[in-house]
Each structure stands twice: as structure tokens, then as C-alpha cells.
């Protein structure tokens, strides 16, 4: 299928349902929250499940897309489809094709295999809403699917990779897909108004909703340099285009105590396409990654055709949904110092729902225990200010002191110097303030090991 100009920025879902007239893929929410539109996308790196309502047609350039129609027929069901039938997983049936896709994606990514726990099974379904069944039969099917063989069809990869930098030029929008970093930087220099498209989980839905497309869009998916992860003796360097799914695995391997926090980041279909730099670029006041990366003293490596600089995260965020990035600059990687000895890390997210929710407050804290004294204290917080920010007043209360009850109460009092949170749909100012203080208390309780503190373990 060939698409011209602006058509390439339409949601893949519209191309599937309207252009290709394949109606098995359903539209539930158009915002990547419900999973009814999930399809499989295969490229040379493998096959993954994506929400086609927040994935641009341009992003599947040169890739293979599998919709539900391509999997199995009523006479010859895919093993996952059969498991869904056997557990009676469908009532109204509207979410069902997307859930089949999610389960196949989980099998392919090995998120679900014979070693998977109940929690893994549920995590694989985090991005798929069902309003009828209450999920029990779907979870039963997912459990059964841990060991079913894949049929094979969904693993077929496209034969060739596109290399041409210009993807398509339309009347009002030109879409570029540079193949390497120098081309990207050059395009950025030439088109300072261009919007960079990585995972697209925010942009595609915003464009479709506003019906307004930028004049130039640069698709980053083919820039190999951005997709690299490097481990050195001193640092972990995660390329800006590395997906959250890959980044999370690296982060957990170095900082396993962040696993519970990262589990709540996004659904598998979001994490499979969303990128680390993309998440930071939104500069969402709550952004789950930013507070954690602050606590890990992360910095961003930023490049243009002429400059190269490294910015700490607090420097990077300049305001509400704004960063200091210059028009010709591109974030190329996130730099994280390796874990020092006696390093402690705590990370908390509080939201109305466990999975796939934007937090009221996120808080991550780290320090080095120097014989009972806290050194290098960093507290990163989301949901408390107009941008993710460090709690510097709290940090200075804790720095160079023992972590005792009196100290933590003083630190909580200092929160008022750092933050004056607002009321919104996710929580009132009073609640956020109280919650932030309680999370500092929780940090201390977990450090001292006073009883159970984790609801989710």
C-alpha cells in the first residue's frame, strides 16, 4: 500500500479500517488506552504489538502489519484464539481481537512463557480494557497461552529495509525518515520547525484530535545510532530512540529496586514503541521516568550539527511541557552513572489505578549510606510542580545527616519550600502535599525495615 503526503501521518487504524476495509481491528478510544485496535508490526528486529490508533502509517514504512484477519480462521484458529474460545473470553466481543493480539505479542516478546507468574500474565494485559467479563476468563486464557506454540505466521519478517531518507512529501506536510544520525542532525538544522516523531504515542492522537499537522515531521525509527544501549565501567548510556521496554530491562538489571515502579509505567504496547527521550521530551509534570532518572543522576546528551552538550534533567525542563532544547538540537542519549557502593534507591507512584494511569504524585529518592549518614541525597518528584523537579530543600535537610524520625519530619516540613502543588483531576493540592510527605516517611520506613510497606508484593 502506498500513501501520499499527509496521509502517512494518519493513524494506522484508519488506514486499516477505512483504506484497507479490514474491520476486525476495532476503534475503542483513539488514545492508546484500551487496546481494541491492537495489531502486530514486524520489522527486522522482531514483531511487537502496537496500538494502531496512536501509531502513524509512516511508522510502518517497510514493515509488515498483521491484523486479526491474518491470524486464523474459524476453521483453523490460531492457538491463542483457541485458548480465548475455550475460556469463554468474549462477551460483547469488541475488545477480543485486540486481546488476541496482546497475548500473541506477549508470547513473541517472551513476556509470557512457561516461567511467567500471575503478575506477568496480568502485566501483559495491562493495556487492554474489557468492560464485560471482569477479566477472569481472559486471564485464564493468558495463563493457558504461556505454553501454546505460536503458529509462525506472525513471526514472518519483511524482506528488505528502506533506506531512502525522504519518505513522502504532501501538500502541507513533508515526512522524512533519516537513516543515520548525521542525516537527522542535518534535517534538524534545515527544518527547525520540524517535529520529531519517535514512538508517537502522544503526537499521533494529538494530531488526529486537533486535525493540525506540522509542516515537517522527522520519523526517527531508522536512525540506528539512537537505538543503541552502551554499558561502560562508569555509565549506562541509553540511546534516545531506545524503547521504554528495552530501557526498563537495563534499568532493572542495574537498579532492581525500581522494578515495581517501572512495572506501572505503561502497557506493553506503549512500552514497545515509546522511547526514553520521547517520554522526557513531553516534559509532562508527572512523567514517570523523569523523577526516577533524576534520582539516578541522569543527564541528557544533546547534539546539533555544530554543538554537543550534556544537560542534567532539572536543567533540561524549563517549564510546563517545555524544555531548553534549541531548535536545531536533538537528544541523542540518556547518560546514567553506574551504581556506586552503598547506594539506596526508592521509587513510588500513586495513582487511582495500578496499571496505565497517570500518577497524582511520583517520588524517587536516592542516597549513599556513608556509615549511617546520608550523602548525595537526590529526591526527584512528579505531580508536585509544573514540571518534574528535584526537591532541593528536602535534599539539603537530609544531606549529611542520619536518616531518623526527627530528620524525616523536618524534611517533610521542607517540602513546602520546594513545591506548591495544584488541584486537578488526579488529586487536590492538599492530597498531593500530604502524599509527598507520606512517601518520604515510607522511604525511611523501607530503609529501616519497619514492617510491610509494599501493597503490591
Amino acid at each position: 500500500m502506498t500513501l501520499e503526503g499527509d496521509q502517512a501521518l494518519r493513524p494506522l487504524l484508519d488506514v486499516i479500517r477505512i483504506d484497507a476495509n479490514l474491520t476486525g481491528t476495532k476503534e475503542g478510544c483513539r488514545s492508546g488506552e484500551c487496546g481494541a485496535c491492537m495489531v502486530l508490526v514486524a520489522d527486522a528486529t522482531g514483531t511487537k504489538g502496537v496500538n494502531s490508533c496512536i501509531y502513524a502509517a509512516a511508522q510502518v514504512h517497510g514493515k509488515r502489519v498483521f491484523t486479526i484477519e491474518g491470524l486464523g480462521t474459524a476453521d483453523s484458529l490460531h492457538p491463542v484464539q483457541r485458548a480465548m474460545v475455550e475460556s469463554r473470553s468474549a462477551q460483547c466481543g469488541f475488545c477480543t481481537p485486540g486481546i488476541v493480539m496482546a497475548q500473541i505479542a506477549a508470547r513473541i516478546s517472551a513476556a509470557c512463557d512457561e516461567g511467567s507468574t500471575e503478575i506477568d500474565v496480568q502485566a501483559a494485559l495491562a493495556g487492554n480494557l474489557c468492560r464485560c467479563t471482569g477479566y477472569r476468563p481472559i486471564i485464564d486464557a493468558a495463563r493457558a497461552c504461556r505454553t501454546v506454540p505460536l503458529s509462525g505466521v506472525e513471526l514472518e519478517k519483511p524482506s528488505d529495509q528502506p533506506t531512502n531518507p525522504l519518505l513522502c512529501r504532501g501538500q502541507s506536510t513533508t515526512v522524512y525518515a533519516p537513516a543515520d544520525l548525521p542525516s537527522l542532525l542535518e534535517l534538524r538544522r534545515q527544518h527547525p520547525d520540524a517535529v520529531l516523531l519517535a514512538g508517537g504515542t502522544d503526537l499521533i492522537t494529538a494530531w488526529r484530535r486537533s486535525m493540525a499537522y506540522p509542516p515537517q515531521v522527522v520519523v526517527l525509527g531508522q536512525v540506528g545510532e539512537l537505538a543503541q544501549i552502551k554499558w561502560t565501567d562508569h555509565a549506562l548510556i541509553i540511546g534516545a530512540g531506545v524503547t521504554v521496554a528495552r530501557a526498563v530491562r537495563c534499568l532493572i538489571s542495574e537498579w532492581p529496586e525500581a522494578a515495581g515502579y517501572l512495572r506501572r509505567f505503561g502497557s506493553p504496547a506503549i512500552n514497545a514503541v515509546a522511547t526514553v527521550a520521547g517520554n522526557l521530551q513531553t516534559a509532562s509534570p508527572v512523567g514517570d521516568l523523569a523523577p526516577l532518572l533524576m534520582a539516578l543522576s541522569a543527564s541528557l546528551m544533546v547534539k546539533s550539527t555544530v554543538t554537543h552538550r550534556q544537560l542534567s534533567l532539572p536543567e533540561y525542563f524549563s517549564g510546563n511541557r517545555a524544555t531548553v532544547l534549541a531548535a536545531d538540537e536533538v537528544v541523542i542519549a540518556v547518560h546514567l552513572p553506574r551504581r556506586p557502593p552503598a547506594f539506596h534507591l526508592f521509587a513510588y507512584k500513586t495513582a487511582k489505578r495500578f496499571d496505565q494511569d497517570i500518577a497524582a504524585v511520583t517520588l524517587a529518592g536516592s542516597f549513599v549510606n556513608d556509615g549511617g549518614t546520608l550523602r548525595h541525597v537526590v529526591i526527584g518528584a512528579g505531580g508536585l510542580a509544573n514540571r518534574p523537579a528535584r526537591a532541593s530543600a528536602v535534599e539539603s535537610v537530609l544531606e549529611n545527616h542520619a536518616f531518623d524520625t526527627a530528620r524525616i519530619e523536618e524534611a517533610i516540613a521542607a517540602l513546602a519550600e520546594d513545591f506548591q502543588p495544584i488541584d486537578d483531576v488526579r488529586g487536590s493540592s492538599t492530597y498531593r502535599t500530604q502524599l509527598a510527605g507520606n512517601l518520604l516517611r515510607k522511604m525511611r520506613l523501607e530503609y529501616t525495615g519497619a514492617g510491610l510497606t509494599n501493597l503490591w508484593q
Binding site: 479490514l22 474459524a74 480465548m84 468492560r131 486535525m211 487511582k352 500530604q434 520506613l445 514492617g451
Partner: protein
């Protein structure tokens, strides 16, 4: 099931449409209250791909989408809520229509809106006189009772979040007829309202509904408006028109479960026997009546839940606000009422320090105590005492209570809570006339059958259940039968598929049609083959008489050739029900459905977050027509209730904009919210004296209020920290839980002795009922 997993099932939006199909996008008000002074449409009309822009002035018939009063297709001069539909753009594509909507200039002279219940009370903006259900003298009963307690409880609404959004397709037909395909729970109402809007009559409009991707009450009345707009556009342009409402518009336009505030006062003995109860329920109805009176009534009819309370006064006050018009949602007011009475029971148990289950058992409807509800209907053969004993034993209740007490004593941060809830749910539309259904049974001369009915399939298994009834009653093989999707030209005047009664009503009507057809075939066979009629039967897919066996298709073929009529209509009206909507007295329900549940939660006292650990429930289904279907209904309803009570929070701005207008801000449960231990038992052998189809029972709504046990369990976990904690609002979001833990609850309950001390201190303590509590 196969068609779902392969994506082969057709929902309304999946139907092949003619290539000249037009698409509609809606223009919504961004102001909650005011006068529409101008709509500047010329730019939109000139926009690429736009065929027409429709407003209230274009409606040839009645500008109303409902038979219940005032629900305009498009707002006229008066703007009544933020999100109200003002106009519709009809264009060659959905994208072109949506783009043109943004080009319309809307001028509104705004005035101050009434958004909250508090504002509505201040303004006295009632839709109608309060509904009152009373028995005895509650004020005296409470005054002379040994103990008295009063309190308040705010209860949130709920968005249906059917996975398939609202959608309608209108197809002009030859000779000034119109065919509508819509995702609606009430095709007959769509038919009648489309006719009224276009100035036609019902004979001119046919409505089909292939299937719904979920309804839950949200497509009972609320789907009609979209079908009317699509119909109007098709009528005006002469072309097929599709209206598929984007999710955000759907959130902003359509009604939800009623949010309510309960004000209550209860008198009881020292041993916990209830003496008198007064509850005032304030309902936020939104800008129009819709189904609010029926919702309020059903709420009042469930405030007793499982308990005999000698003297009561229940009042529902229907407040009008400048918000979307709240509507039907699974349970229809009963879940809110059951949350109120069960919260009261828990409060009494805490005050008296009695086991809350014992307290419930003492107050159950029973011959020794009383079996008549406040509305005059008897509760005979109450199975709740037995169900309670069974569930408590099965779920290890007493042992777990001790484990929890020990856990809570040891753990400073995490606290557990366990709670039990019984549910008695009344089955039947309380508007008696709706309790009727018809079917059309066609038998073809090849031996295959089609059954048409007026119900809609939305995942609840109606098709499977009706098919089971026909196959079993007829004695034929299942693959002979097709139960077909709704079409108003086959079965007229159907009631909405709602109130959990469809399998009862349609099943009985189908049984009636089968009986007629079967008798006709047996009469024919007796004569044709000279068989003794009394010994003839149809079973195992054949006519049998002694050793004579005629395969069913041969029987039918012979009957056809003998000119026997092979079509039959069946009809059913629920017997023995009556209800006076003024006095709220009568026999509104055909029967009750019962259930019990025990839920255990753990809360984090630092964050207010809750985790549901274990649920055990036992649900009465009668003799289930399809146990697997019923299990799915029970589990799904329970989790929907959990969402309502735990995380689904609707937030409005002061100006009346719904801020939680999509799944990014409005959170329904996911797979991770399912309790790790979820034991669901169906009891099929309960004594059930009422004659229902194969002694089955309706199941769609009754299990939902069992989720109240989760809310109570959180209340109990909080009580482990603060035994005098105040009212926990619903939903029990982390913020709500933390607010109560911090001593800032939604409301602090007041015990009589506290009131007396206040009075003694010279402080006027008014009850919510406007009178000073005094002995």
C-alpha cells in the same frame, strides 16, 4: 465465540456501507448554561467535503430524542450543559466533518450554571416533587430507640465505557422509508423517535441492531439522539449517513450513573435490631429527566436491601443541574441504595461493637421479624440466612477475621479489612407496562427455524439463552435454529433490553411461540399418520409416537405440503405485578434475586491505595439457562462495581466541563485489579416459587451491588487505624481514603450522645432533616 476471536463479527461500524455514505461530526457547547445567540455556519458549510450543516431549525418534526420529556436533538435557544449538541456537520468523510466543526463560531450569552448538588439544593432546582416511600412513624421510632446515629455519604457516578462507542447508520430506502442500523438497547424507541423527529410514523422507519459492543444502560435512552441525527442527515441529503461518536464526545454528551448524596438517620436497639430509618437520597439528574424518576424509585425500593425495618421514611430528591442527563446504568439506583444501607449497618456494628454479620442476620427479613417490604411486597422463602452461613463457612470467615486482626496489630503501614454483604435485588421493570415481550418464530420447510425477538445482544448472552429455551422446549437439534438480530419490522413495540429481565420476558414469549408451533405440528401429525395425539411428542429432533419416529425435517416438510401455518408469534406479560408510582406501593417485582459476597482488601495508610486480595461470592441464578453465561455476568458485574467504588471518578470543573472525558483520565479496572483469589459460586437449587422460564432468574444487574463489600472492607481497614473514622466517599480513591485517615472525611457521623453534648454546649445541632434531634 469464533467470530469474535477472528474479528469476523460485525458491529454497526463494521457493516459494509455504500460508497456514497456521508459522515457526521457533532458540534458541542463549551458553555454549561446560557442563551445561544448565534451560530456562524457559513465557513463550515464552505469547507472542503462538507455537504450540509444541521441545527435545531432543520428538524422537520419534534426536536426531541426521548419519549420522557425534554431531550433536544440539537439545543434550541437554551443551552443546558457543557457538551450539549448544538449542530452536526455532514461531510464526505469523518475527517472533513470533524475539521469543519472547528470552523463554526458559536456565540452564547452565558449565565451562572448549576453544577453541583450543593448548588442545586441552594437553588431548589428540583425536576419534580420528591419521591417518598414511608411506613409507620420513623421519627418516633428513631426518637424512642435506645441508640441513634446519623450521617451522610457522597456517592459518585459512573461512565458506562461500553467498548464500542455510540454509532448509528441511516440508509434511505425506496418510497420514503428509512432503515436505521444502530448500537442501541432500545430499537423500538429509536424507531418511534426517529419517526417523530422526521415527522413520520413508526411504519416508515425500520431499526436494526446487529449487536452491541456493550451497553450497560448507556444505550437504553442515550443512543437515540445519535440515530436521530444520522436519520435527519440521511433524510435531508438522500444519502446513507454514518455517525460514529468519538470517545471524548461520547463522554461529554451522554448520561452516566447518577451520583448521589445520602443523608441518613437510624434508630436501633442495644442489641442491634433496627427500629427506624430515614434516608434522603439527593440525585444529580442533569439537565433533563430521562430515566431519573425510575432510577430514584428503584433506589428507594432497595434501601431496605435484606433487612426488615419497621418504620422508615425514604425520600429521593431529583435535582436538575447543568450537566449531562444521568441515565440507566446496570443496577439502576439499587447499587447506590445498597451502599447506603450497608454502610449504615457497618457503622452500627462499630458503634455497638457487634460482629457486623451477626447484626445483619438479626435484621434479615424473616417470619419472626417481618417479611413485608416498605413498599408492601412480601419476601417469602428468604434464602439469605442459608446463603450467609454457607459463604461464611466456605470462605473461612472467622479464621480470616482473626488473621486480619493479628496482621493489623503487627503492621503499622498496611492494614487489611474484610467485609460481608448480602443483596436482595428486585426483578422486573418498575414501570409495569414494560414487562412484555413478543417473538416471531418461522419454521422453514427444510426444517430450519428462525426466531426473531425485540431484544438486543450486547454480550449478556441473550441469544444463547433464548436459543436454549427454544431448542429445549421444542425438542429439536440446536443447529436447526438461528436466533436473529433485532429488527423492528419483525417484532413491534419491544421494551428496551434492560432491567435484567430480557431472558425472562423473551424466553417466556419464545416458549409460548414454541408451544403454539409444537402443538400445531403434533395436531397435524396425529391426523396425517393416524397417531394417538396424546402419545405424540417431539424430542431428540424427531416426532415420536411409540415406536414411530419421523425426523423433524420430514415432519415439517409434510406439514408444509398439508398447508399448515409454519409461523407463530409468541407473547408474554409478567403476571401478578402492579405498582403505584405515586404511593410507591404494590408488587413491583416478579421475584427477587439474592447474592452474598465477602471481600478482603489491604490498604496502604501512607498513600491511601487499595489492593483487592480476595473475593468469595455466592449468586442465586435460579436454574440457570446457561451457567457459563451467568458466571460471566456475575464476574463482569462485580468488577464493574469494583471500578465504580474504587477508581472510576468523574470530575467536573466549576464551569461545568467534564474534566475526566476519556480513558486517559477516567480509569476503569484492568486485569491487574482482579483479585488474586476470586471464588464465584452459583446456586441453582434455591426454592423459587415463581414461574419463570425453566425456573431461571435474571442475572445482569443483581451481582453488581455485591461489590459494595469491597467498599465496606476498605472502611473496616481504615477502622483498624481509626475506629471513629468518618464517612468514606465512593469511589474510595487513594485521595478519599487518605482524607478519612487524616481525619477529614466526607462527613463525620454523629451519635446521639455526641449530639446531646453539642446541645449541652449550646450549639444548635440540626439533623439533615431540618429538625433538632431531641428525646
Amino acid at each position: 465465540m469464533h467470530q469474535f476471536v477472528t474479528g469476523a463479527s460485525w458491529f454497526t461500524d463494521d457493516l459494509p456501507t455504500p460508497s456514497n455514505t456521508l459522515h457526521v461530526a457533532l458540534g458541542l457547547s463549551t458553555c454549561a448554561s446560557g442563551r445561544l445567540s448565534a451560530l456562524e455556519l457559513s465557513t463550515a458549510r464552505a469547507s472542503a467535503g462538507v455537504v450540509m450543516v444541521l441545527t435545531a431549525g432543520d428538524v422537520p418534526g419534534v426536536n426531541c430524542t426521548s419519549a420522557l420529556g425534554h431531550d433536544p436533538v440539537f439545543a434550541g435557544e437554551r443551552i443546558e450543559y457543557h457538551g450539549q449538541v448544538l449542530f452536526a456537520v455532514v461531510a464526505e468523510s469523518a475527517v472533513a466533518a470533524e475539521a469543519a466543526v472547528r470552523l463554526v463560531q458559536v456565540s452564547i450569552d452565558a449565565d451562572p450554571p448549576v453544577i453541583t448538588l450543593a448548588q442545586a439544593r441552594d437553588r431548589g432546582s428540583l425536576l419534580t416533587a420528591p419521591l417518598i416511600l414511608a411506613r409507620g412513624n420513623s421519627a418516633t421510632a428513631i426518637a424512642i430507640a435506645a441508640e441513634c446515629l446519623n450521617g451522610q455519604l457522597p456517592i459518585g457516578g459512573q461512565e458506562h465505557f461500553y467498548m464500542e462507542g455510540q454509532v448509528a447508520l441511516a440508509l434511505p430506502q425506496p418510497d420514503q422509508e428509512l432503515l436505521i442500523v444502530a448500537s442501541t438497547q432500545h430499537p423500538a424507541e429509536v424507531q418511534h423517535q426517529v419517526a417523530a423527529v422526521l415527522g413520520l410514523t413508526a411504519k416508515d422507519v425500520t431499526v436494526q441492531c446487529p449487536r452491541l459492543g456493550g451497553g450497560f444502560g448507556g444505550k437504553e435512552t442515550q443512543a437515540t439522539q445519535f440515530a436521530c441525527i444520522a436519520a435527519l442527515a440521511a433524510w435531508k441529503t438522500g444519502r446513507p449517513v454514518k455517525l460514529r461518536v468519538p470517545r471524548q464526545d461520547d463522554f461529554r454528551i451522554t448520561g452516566k450513573r447518577h451520583d448521589m448524596e445520602a443523608h441518613w438517620r437510624v434508630g436501633f436497639d442495644c442489641d442491634g435490631r433496627l427500629r427506624g430509618l430515614e434516608v434522603a437520597l439527593d440525585l444529580r439528574c442533569g439537565y433533563s429527566m430521562d430515566l431519573s424518576a425510575a432510577v430514584g424509585t428503584r433506589a428507594l425500593l432497595h434501601l431496605d436491601n435484606a433487612y426488615f425495618i419497621p418504620d422508615v421514611r425514604f425520600e429521593a430528591r431529583l435535582y436538575s443541574t447543568n450537566t449531562l442527563s444521568n441515565t440507566a446504568f446496570r443496577g439502576f439506583g439499587a447499587p447506590q441504595a445498597i451502599l447506603v444501607i450497608e454502610t449504615i449497618i457497618e457503622r452500627i456494628a462499630r458503634v455497638l461493637q457487634i460482629d457486623p454479620v451477626e447484626l445483619r442476620q438479626k435484621n434479615y427479613y424473616a417470619a419472626a421479624r417481618g417479611v413485608t417490604t416498605p413498599y408492601g411486597m412480601r419476601v417469602d422463602h428468604n434464602p439469605l440466612p442459608e446463603l450467609t452461613r454457607t459463604l461464611l463457612a466456605d470462605c473461612d470467615w472467622h479464621q480470616r477475621q482473626q488473621t486480619i486482626t493479628t496482621f493489623n496489630a503487627r503492621q503499622p503501614i498496611l492494614k487489611r479489612g474484610l467485609a460481608f454483604v448480602p443483596v436482595k435485588f428486585g426483578l422486573s421493570f418498575i414501570q409495569t407496562f414494560l414487562n412484555q415481550a413478543g417473538v416471531l418464530l418461522n419454521v422453514y420447510h427444510d426444517g430450519s427455524l428462525r426466531l426473531a425477538h425485540g431484544g438486543t445482544e450486547m454480550g449478556q448472552g441473550l441469544t444463547d439463552k433464548v436459543a436454549a429455551v427454544v431448542v429445549r422446549a421444542f425438542g429439536i437439534a440446536a443447529d436447526r435454529l438461528r436466533v436473529v438480530a433485532t429488527d423492528t419490522s419483525r417484532v413491534p413495540n419491544a421494551s428496551p433490553t434492560a432491567a435484567s429481565v430480557s431472558s425472562d420476558l423473551i424466553g417466556q414469549a419464545a416458549l409460548n411461540a414454541v408451544t403454539i408451533m409444537r402443538d400445531r405440528l403434533l395436531d397435524f401429525a396425529a391426523i396425517a399418520w393416524s397417531l394417538p395425539r396424546a402419545e405424540c411428542t417431539i424430542k431428540e429432533d424427531a416426532l415420536w409416537c411409540g415406536n414411530t419416529c419421523v425426523p423433524f425435517d420430514q415432519l415439517v416438510h409434510a406439514a408444509w405440503q398439508a398447508r399448515i401455518e409454519l409461523a407463530a408469534t409468541g407473547f408474554y406479560r409478567t403476571p401478578d405485578i402492579h405498582f403505584d408510582a405515586e404511593t410507591l406501593q404494590g408488587q413491583p417485582f416478579h421475584y427477587f434475586v439474592y447474592g452474598v459476597a465477602a471481600s478482603e482488601v489491604m490498604i496502604d495508610t501512607l498513600t491511601g491505595e487499595t489492593r483487592l486480595l480476595r473475593v468469595d461470592l455466592l449468586q442465586d441464578t435460579g436454574h440457570s439457562l446457561a451457567p457459563e453465561v451467568d458466571r460471566g455476568q456475575v464476574e463482569g458485574a462485580f468488577m464493574q462495581g469494583v471500578g465504580w467504588l474504587l477508581m472510576e471518578e468523574l470530575v467536573w470543573s466549576e464551569a461545568g466541563r467534564l474534566l475526566t472525558d476519556g480513558p486517559d483520565t477516567y480509569k476503569i479496572p484492568t486485569a491487574s485489579d482482579v483479585p488474586p483469589v476470586f471464588n464465584v459460586g452459583l446456586t441453582e437449587q434455591l426454592p423459587h416459587s415463581v414461574n419463570t422460564v425453566f425456573r431461571s432468574k435474571g442475572i445482569g444487574e443483581p451481582p453488581l451491588p455485591l461489590a459494595v463489600s469491597v467498599h465496606l472492607a476498605i472502611q473496616n481497614a481504615i477502622a483498624a487505624v481509626q475506629s471513629s473514622a468518618g464517612a468514606l466517599a465512593a469511589p474510595a480513591t487513594p485521595e478519599a481514603v487518605l482524607r478519612v485517615l487524616a481525619g477529614n472525611p466526607a462527613h463525620q457521623d454523629i451519635r446521639r450522645r455526641d449530639v446531646e453534648s453539642l446541645l449541652g454546649a449550646g450549639v444548635a445541632a440540626a439533623s439533615p432533616f431540618g429538625e433538632v434531634i431531641n428525646e
